[in-house]
């Protein structure tokens, strides 16, 4: 089933996964374009094709879609420059240090997972003590929090790990300010201070940091396997594949990864990450490392098998060009699970009911 998906084939091994077998004129470029676009990976696939100097071999009409997708990610990269500079200017004045996270960090620091990466919001991490000063500094420089109802405000501030997202008045871009990478109400308790201790400072921008390469992997794994948002599942798996290749495989840093995951109390998401990147994108991760991670995460093999099945279904986004049986059920189970991980039970049920009410009445999901 996974091999049915052209986009999965194309993402393996920096895009070389299936290229040996392709007849460039007869290939179904249209399906690849549609699948890739649906999972927000068209720019990445296009980027690989461009790096491998294969665009010219593709017929003109599909080729134009790939070229246009590259323009989109180039434009995204330009906007990172503007956004990060503006955020830095606002926060640096108030001496608030911040760590750039996810897509913005990949693009800014130039790692492989920044290639063809599209994203809308800029995510940053500040310390708990500087959370409110950060919010104030941003609001003095053109950002404002969208007016949300009292329940949603409480949800963000007290139960989750964010102040509400802030939008810039004229650029209409959004910054999400975090002080932890998991909600404080979760069972897992990674200490943010440890992330700061290993963060890399960015040249010429005092107070601006990105996570260390190993921590980038761990954060990305936690975001995917703890947060329960699967629509970008394959995109996150692709990011992890590139981060792991560059940050761990190249320097053979497996011990470092597992030790650090244990230190941050995040072995389980890291186990899932290496298990599924190997399964889906054939990332060359030694089996013994996966076995070791599973045992460190204290997962019995029955549970591991169930999660295997659920996640395999959930991570693939449905599309007209192939079908995934049981996907919505799998996603529902995992969605409930991720809320269970984030919140005590007494908070969980009323919150979920309110979310479904919003959905049924047609209001926008957040």
């Amino acid at each position: 089933m996974l091999d049915d998906q052209l986009v999965v084939q194309f993402l393996r091994n920096y895009g070389q996964g299936s290229l040996q077998k392709i007849d460039f004129t007869g290939y179904c470029w249209e399906n690849l374009i549609r699948q890739s676009r649906r999972v927000n990976l068209l720019s990445r696939v296009a980027y690989f094709l461009c790096e491998l100097e294969l665009l010219e071999k593709i017929p003109e009409q599909p080729r134009q879609h790939f070229i246009n997708a590259i323009k989109l990610s180039d434009a995204n990269a330009r906007s990172v420059y503007v956004e990060v500079k503006a955020i830095h200017q606002a926060l640096n004045k108030e001496k608030v240090d911040f760590i750039l996270l996810k897509g913005a960090a990949y693009v800014w620091s130039g790692v492989d997972s920044g290639k063809g990466r599209l994203f809308t919001d800029t995510d940053i991490l500040v310390t708990k003590e500087t959370l409110l000063p950060a919010e104030t500094a941003l609001s003095h420089n053109g950002w404002f929090a969208l007016s949300l109802d009292a329940y949603t405000q409480k949800f963000y501030r007290e139960w989750m790990h964010e102040i509400p997202p802030m939008t810039h008045r004229s650029r209409q871009t959004t910054v999400d300010v975090h002080h932890t990478i998991i909600p404080p109400t979760s069972r897992l308790k990674p200490k943010p201070i440890k992330l700061w201790q290993q963060a890399d400072a960015m040249e010429n921008m005092p107070g601006l940091f990105v996570l260390s390469p190993i921590d980038m992997i761990i954060h990305s794994a936690t975001h995917l396997f703890h947060e329960g948002e699967f629509d970008q599942g394959l995109r996150d798996i692709s990011d992890l594949d590139l981060l792991i290749r560059e940050g761990v495989i190249e320097g053979n840093k497996w011990e470092e990864l597992l030790v650090r995951a244990e230190e941050l109390d995040l072995v389980k998401p890291v186990y899932y990450a290496i298990n599924f990147t190997q399964k889906i994108l054939l990332t060359p991760i030694p089996d013994k490392i996966i076995v070791k991670a599973r045992s460190l995460a204290k997962m019995n093999s029955f549970l591991a098998m169930i999660m295997d099945v659920l996640y395999s279904k959930a991570l693939i986004t449905e599309h007209k060009t192939y079908s995934v049986n049981g996907q919505s059920f799998a996603r529902w189970l995992l969605y409930i699970r991720s809320h269970w991980l984030k919140m005590p039970v007494y908070l969980l049920a009323p919150h979920l009911c309110r979310k479904s009410w919003l959905r049924i009445s047609g209001q926008k999901d957040h």
Partner: protein, 78 residues
């Protein structure tokens, strides 16, 4: 180059390559920007400003200083 400039009669339009912003300047100010980016000496620029606006040296130096500030703020020069 950090920018691109197009000149028409007495106006010019500047495109900031890194940020994507565009700016409308007088043709003269656009030419000064062009010269600044090719590291033309300040003295030469001051002389041009004096010729163009028929003002004294001090005013011309102040004007040039203002232009440097604006262009740096707009990230059009380093």
């Amino acid at each position: 180059m950090l920018f691109k400039v197009y000149f028409w009669q007495d106006e010019s339009v500047i495109y900031n390559i890194k940020s994507g912003d565009i700016h409308l300047l007088s043709s003269f100010d656009g030419k000064v920007l062009d010269l600044m980016s090719s590291n033309t000496k300040q003295e030469v620029l001051i002389k041009k400003i004096i010729e163009a606006y028929q003002i004294d040296y001090q005013d011309a130096e102040d004007y040039l200083g203002k232009l440097y500030d604006i262009y740096r703020k707009l990230s059009l020069i380093d």
